[in-house]
Point group: C2
Chain length 308, copies 2
């Protein structure tokens, strides 16, 4: 059994602000990332490689708020966060507030495998990336006209936007992937460009092990997207794992409990993707939509944006 699920953010994705062309472009980008990850699993590759490569594909696509498509901070720069976790060893790596790095998810993996640490931040994380010979890109690569306009609308104000916010198209811009490989190992990873007009070096849940990302072969692999502050306070990803391990819930019941009850109870919006050790997949969200796709070796394949 092999399984993979990916997401490209959740939120108020209005059909009215979506053109058929735009919808098509999103679905094609999701399909491409799904195929990359699934092929790796099919050829006997590891779930770690599958989630990393699927996310690199989403990071390289300007449609999603991660990597190339990252939103602008209040300073007019980009501060990206990412994390990855190996369900077999419980090893994990994360970076917060990095700029110029082409693929933050791959930097997170290098943190896991080469740094002796779990989480590196800001300038120090960029120094580490240079020592590791990571690919860097200049400001032009990260410049996107749509993102720039988003920023211009709120620049100079105290307003920060969780990506396509400001009521029109309120979307929490994050990408994520979870997978189960042939060897039975789970992995999860998440990457984001944060919030438009973000200040003060704010860190959301995406680079935080336990909140935005978690993987454990005994339970599940989870990647979240949503109002990061609420996900941090709810320790969402590990909550799903604990509901399965300590309360005996199924993946479907655990993800429902966490997203539809516990997160909602404190006012948190968003969703998650998860896969368990048997290859079951859950795509749970309490917003109007979530860019998502999944595929397993039992014939399941889905690419969706709006609520079912």
């Amino acid at each position: 059994m092999i399984s993979i699920a990916i997401h490209g953010g959740a939120g108020t994705i209005l059909r009215s602000s979506m053109t058929p062309e735009k919808e098509q472009a999103y679905k094609e980008a999701l399909q491409a990332a799904l195929n990359i990850g699934y092929s790796i699993l099919e050829m006997g590759g590891t779930s770690l490689d599958a989630v990393e490569q699927a996310i690199r594909s989403l990071e390289d696509c300007p449609l999603f708020n991660a990597g190339r498509g990252s939103v602008f901070t209040a300073d007019g720069t980009h501060e990206m966060d990412a994390s990855i976790m190996d369900g077999k060893t419980l090893e994990a790596g994360a970076v917060a507030g990095v700029h110029g790095v082409k693929n933050p998810v791959s930097l997170a993996r290098l943190v896991m495998e080469k740094s002796g640490h779990v989480m590196l931040a800001a300038k120090g994380a960029v120094d580490f990336a240079r020592e590791m010979d990571c690919e860097f890109r200049d400001a032009e690569y990260f410049y996107d006209e749509f993102r720039f306009k988003q920023w211009q609308e709120v620049k100079g104000s105290d307003t920060f936007q969780l990506d396509h916010a400001a009521k029109k198209d309120e979307k929490f811009g994050t990408v994520g992937a979870v997978a189960l490989d042939k060897a039975g190992n789970l992995a999860a990873a998440t990457s984001t460009g944060g919030m438009t007009n973000k200040r003060f070096g704010r860190i959301g849940d995406s680079p935080v092990i336990g909140s935005g990302t978690y993987a454990n072969n005994n339970t599940c692999a989870v990647s979240c997207t949503g109002s990061g502050e609420f996900f941090l306070r709810s320790v969402v990803a590990y909550d799903v794992s604990c509901l399965m391990e300590y309360k005996g819930l199924s993946l479907a019941d655990a993800t429902k409990e966490t997203i539809q009850k516990r997160l909602l109870n404190i006012g948190g919006d968003g969703g998650l993707i998860a896969v368990d050790a048997k290859g079951n997949i859950s795509l749970e969200f309490n917003t109007e939509g979530m860019y998502r796709a999944c595929k397993n070796s039992k014939g399941l394949e889905e690419i969706s944006i709006y609520e079912a």
Copy 2:
């Protein structure tokens, strides 16, 4: 019922490298912090105020690796982390990699109450501290000869020390406090100066909600100290809460399970302090010692360093 517990780090605290004078100094500092927190609870103050003020006292004392006594990074500076959580509202605040701020725990509380965010890092967090008119101190205030010598021993190498490491007196330098107030509200907070000769903007578990700090009126308040990377991977603080809520364990059994089994299974060293909604206290560690103290309104009072 009121209860408070504090810690000043865990690790290999060798009696051979401890003089009676040094032991006395540590115990007096713990006693002073305990008294400050307990008096607040006794006068009907909140658990949030009690943990913040107890930690400020430990941060102001050069004996502990937090605030004034913070260790040196590889650059010869100080990068401090802190977090705080309110068990009543599940609100939380954290800062990572800040320098110059006299009391990082109070900055974490300002993040919780004034920023609209949960976690701020590095330069951005310092900018926020300036906007909030936090107290700053210059390099001289943070200079400590013992810390400087610790750094000189490993400076220029790839070695980083979890405070008093290098085999002599291996201690994970962190301070923490947990409390239950008369209104039945729990709170937890943690503060640290990180690792000697730290590089790359490394973030440990101390500023991470769920790993280093967690509080929830339904279960418990927890503050951790130890090998931060393992605490992050084990999501230690929230694990204790989940074992109580989802598996029905007592505070004592939950903290034992997390520290003596789950954390040890992946090779993690350290400990935690915890208090539950009934005022029970747990001081659990798998190292040779943990600087710790606790007091409740049923007559319990303890100040200890070594294993019982």
